[in-house]
Symmetry: C2
Subunit: 155 residues, 2 copies
DNA sequence: CCTAAACAGGATAAAATTATCCTGTTTAGT
DNA sequence: ACTAAACAGGATAATTTTATCCTGTTTAGG
């Protein structure tokens, strides 16, 4: 598992908020949790971290909710989201858990894993919110599972 | 974190046992735990899983211990080790935790992550024990941290 | 055949992660 | 002002992962 569950929920939450923000809508906790099919109190905790990490903005009170300034959406990457939630996410760590794994004292898979880590970080840095949120709007990608009872729009 | 702590300990344990097996030596739990700097009772549990998964062989009784048949060492890969310990290790899972993420219904990072997963599996399949154990013997890679009090062999 | 060294495995404990609860504060609308 | 909707944050609970404990079985060697 690359990301913790908290990160997974966080990424999905931010993507939903970004998509809604593109349409000028704020999202409430209830809407986010329902959309991403995650427990609302846990999502609340994660959103707090994202607010503190300046990934999303929260507005209290009636008609409040979470949003991202549309001009900011293109600046945010997966890296920003993940680090806001999981301070310990550090792809620099050794795959085998060695504290002193390094170029001069490599673990047996150091060199292979190094290439993979580079790919992961590159993927995370390149994954910017605007592209993902727009794909969600286009319907070329998805955030949630198919509904259990398919809705027949033709009836 | 790509692997769980149990997998990390497991990989290091197997590598040590493989190296010792190349020299015709069995390894006891005490030796393994000490070498890889991990808690002995936890390593014991992990070794049990590796025995059940046919990655290593155990011999009970005095002068017993763990070993790998030298002819087998070249057949074992990281994949074998990891799956023996972590039944849930499944790189097919979605990076964002979606149950229904697929080619026809991809999550926003499905395609990028797919390439990374392929690399990870490829790395794991290519990492075979014999090469790693021999590198350990050669001293071109390492399993443990540097000793805290450097031993001065010249005195 | 007795002993000590070594693995096996069930039960339990500790720590980390995930999830929930409750009370407080903010704020739009009346 | 009052109310209801919404986020904030501390405290607690449940679950999973990590770690330990204890008793049993095996076996080489005296």
């Amino acid at each position: 598992m690359l990301f913790t569950k908290a990160c997974e929920y966080g990424i999905r939450s931010v993507l939903f908020v970004a998509k809604q923000s593109l349409e000028g809508k704020r999202s409430t906790l209830k809407e986010i949790a329902s959309e991403i099919e995650a427990p609302q109190p846990f999502v609340a905790k994660i959103m707090q971290q994202l607010v503190r990490g300046n990934v999303v903005v929260s507005v209290k009170g009636i008609s409040g909710g979470f949003y991202i300034e549309p001009s900011q959406i293109k600046e945010i990457t997966l890296t920003n989201i993940v680090f806001a939630i999981d301070k310990n996410f550090d792809s620099k760590l050794c795959a085998m858990g060695l504290k002193e794994c390094s170029e001069v004292r490599p673990c047996p898979i150091h060199h292979t894993y190094k290439a993979i880590k580079k790919d992961i970080i590159s993927m995370m840095d390149k994954s910017n919110l605007i592209e993902m949120a727009e794909s969600l709007k286009n319907g070329t990608c998805f955030l949630s599972n198919l509904p259990k009872q398919p809705i027949n729009n033709l009836q």
